[in-house]
Amino acid sequence: MTSFLDFEKPIAELEARIAELRATADGSDLDIGAEIAKLEKKSAAMLTGTYAKLSPWQKTQVARHPQRPHFVDYIRLAFNDFVPLGGDRLYGEDAAIIGGLAKLDGRKIMVIGHEKGQDTASRIKHNFGMAKPEGYRKAIRLMEMASKFGLPVVTLVDTAGAFPGVEAEERGQAEAIARSTEACLGLQVPMVAAIVGEGGSGGAVAIASANRVLMLEHSVYSVISPEGASSILWRTPDKAADAATAMKVTAQDLLDLAVIDGIVPEPVGGAHRDPAGTARALADALGRELAALDGKDTAEIVRQREERFLAIGAL
């Protein structure tokens, strides 16, 4: 069962009507069959129409949809032979960031990403995708290992932000994020990042400072949540939609600003309506980006990554 977002209410009502008709129809009533077909066509058109012109705030909600595919789904659907590697060797294992060895269309890689969890128990286990210093230090460890063994790095970014808590501060959240960004920039191997849900601030950048950065069509990437910007800049919690528009958080905006390099299309109605199809599109896009970086020497890979970030926003 798909759960509907607020702005999908008309579609939800149509779908409920269709389900109702289906329950009453016995299969022989051609009139009801025709009515169902008509409503299904209408519903599909409404879904297409709605998703073709999502506002930045609506996209934020799609990006945060509870059923949106997450890291563990993509591991299952887009990668093979995943070998998870745990721990930062310094403090602990942080399940908000998962990483390990994997194959992408036969290519051996290191894959790292945030995991938010999909039900109450797993959301708590993964701390809602909000990593602590040990999560970023694990990412650093895995990136350095990838560099050592010549494995390209793929990251899947999906976090509201790094965890804001006392113990995270105590163990050096800021330093861990800064070092993780530094580790991305120092990689002697190609790195491709994809924002698959929320790219929340420093907690996202820490594993997204890559040679190539992609975004799923309805994902968002932002310096602060629209709610946070609303309360700080407008001094009211009610301006999140305005803040989302003003800050330019969508994949389409960020491609225009040359902050990202490409958009991976999502199925009509968003990734959660077809996780397998989304995973295929993501795997294809990641594979293409990695192939484009094949054969470049190490110095060129490092320099291209540096120049990419130096050039953003230049006059």
Partner: protein, 295 residues
């Protein structure tokens, strides 16, 4: 829940008269005609403004370190005869941002009451005879927030240090990222880190002086990457804002949380140094870390 690493001080707009020196900006102003007296925000002692300034804007009673601007820092840390470097030009209001006011109007107001065009200014000079580039972030300019101008100035300062074959010293102060530049402010985190990596590759020292306050994306990038990390006493230094943390954990924050001494106790800085001792500390460090004497 808001999880971004920013707190409200990042955009706090100070409405001081342009004549009031940066050095007074964190102190409660008393309503006397000449503002000759002020109250220390830490110990509440009444201070004579001139004495306070003469004491490097440190309260003589409780050693509270007031916030000071770029000029005061240059004078404090560099030998006489330094050169203030020009600030790189960047696109103005690249997103056409407006909240309750246009970002371009906020910028104009900030420039009207500040000596430099944005929140980070570099100077080239010497520290007890040793050449160095010193960058200073000024909290008075839109909360020191990091937008493209700050990121570009940081990169330019480091590049100048590399060209001069000398170390780069940065005094950080920021409430976080310049939200009005959206994602472009966030992109300054990797951009400035490219610069610190290049400085390291050139074998040149990078020294960070964390001043009050340093939070958010600035802390989570160049402010934590120094070869040596120095903090001024009592400075607020952290990633997440205290209000955000409190909203998350719903309990009282520990005493001294996110203060310089707390960071020292948790292994995040090398030393906490009184303002009056900063220059000699820098000189000692550069003396060790510079590969050869440069003057």
């Amino acid at each position: 829940m808001q999880t971004g690493p920013f707190n409200e001080i990042g955009t706090h707009h100070m409405s001081w008269l342009s004549k009031v020196r940066n050095s007074l900006s964190s102190l409660a102003k008393r309503d006397t005609p000449d503002n000759l007296w002020m109250k220390c925000p830490s110990c509440s002692q009444m201070l004579f403004a001139k004495d306070f300034e003469a004491n490097l804007s440190v309260c003589p009673h409780c050693q509270h370190h007031g916030r000071i601007g770029a000029e005061a820092r240059f004078d404090l840390l560099l030998d006489a005869g330094y050169t203030v470097l020009s600030t790189p030009k960047v696109p103005e209001n690249p997103l056409g941002f407006r909240d309750t006011k246009k970002y371009s109007d906020r910028l104009r107001a900030a420039r009207a009451s500040n000596p430099y065009p944005d929140a980070l200014t570099n100077a080239l000079g010497t520290i007890e005879g040793m050449k160095a580039v010193l960058g200073v972030q000024d909290f008075k300019f839109m909360g020191g927030s990091m937008g493209m101008a700050v990121g570009e100035a940081f990169v330019a300062g480091v590049e100048r240090a590399i060209a001069e074959k000398c170390g780069y010293v940065i005094c950080t102060a920021a409430g976080g990222a310049r939200m009005q530049e959206g994602i472009l402010s966030l992109m300054q985190m990797p951009k400035t880190t490219v610069a610190t990596r290049r400085l390291a590759a050139a074998g040149l020292p990078y020294i960070v002086i964390l001043t009050d306050p340093t939070t958010g994306g600035v802390t989570a990038s160049y402010a934590m990457l120094g070869d040596v990390q120095i903090a001024e006493p009592g400075a607020l230094i952290g990633f997440a804002g205290q209000r955000v943390i409190q909203d998350t954990i719903r309990e009282k924050l520990p005493d001294g949380f996110q203060r310089a001494e707390y960071l020292y106790d948790h292994g995040m800085v090398d030393m906490v140094v009184h303002r009056k001792d900063l220059k000699t500390t820098l000189a000692t460090l550069l003396g060790y870390l510079n590969r050869k004497e440069v003057a």
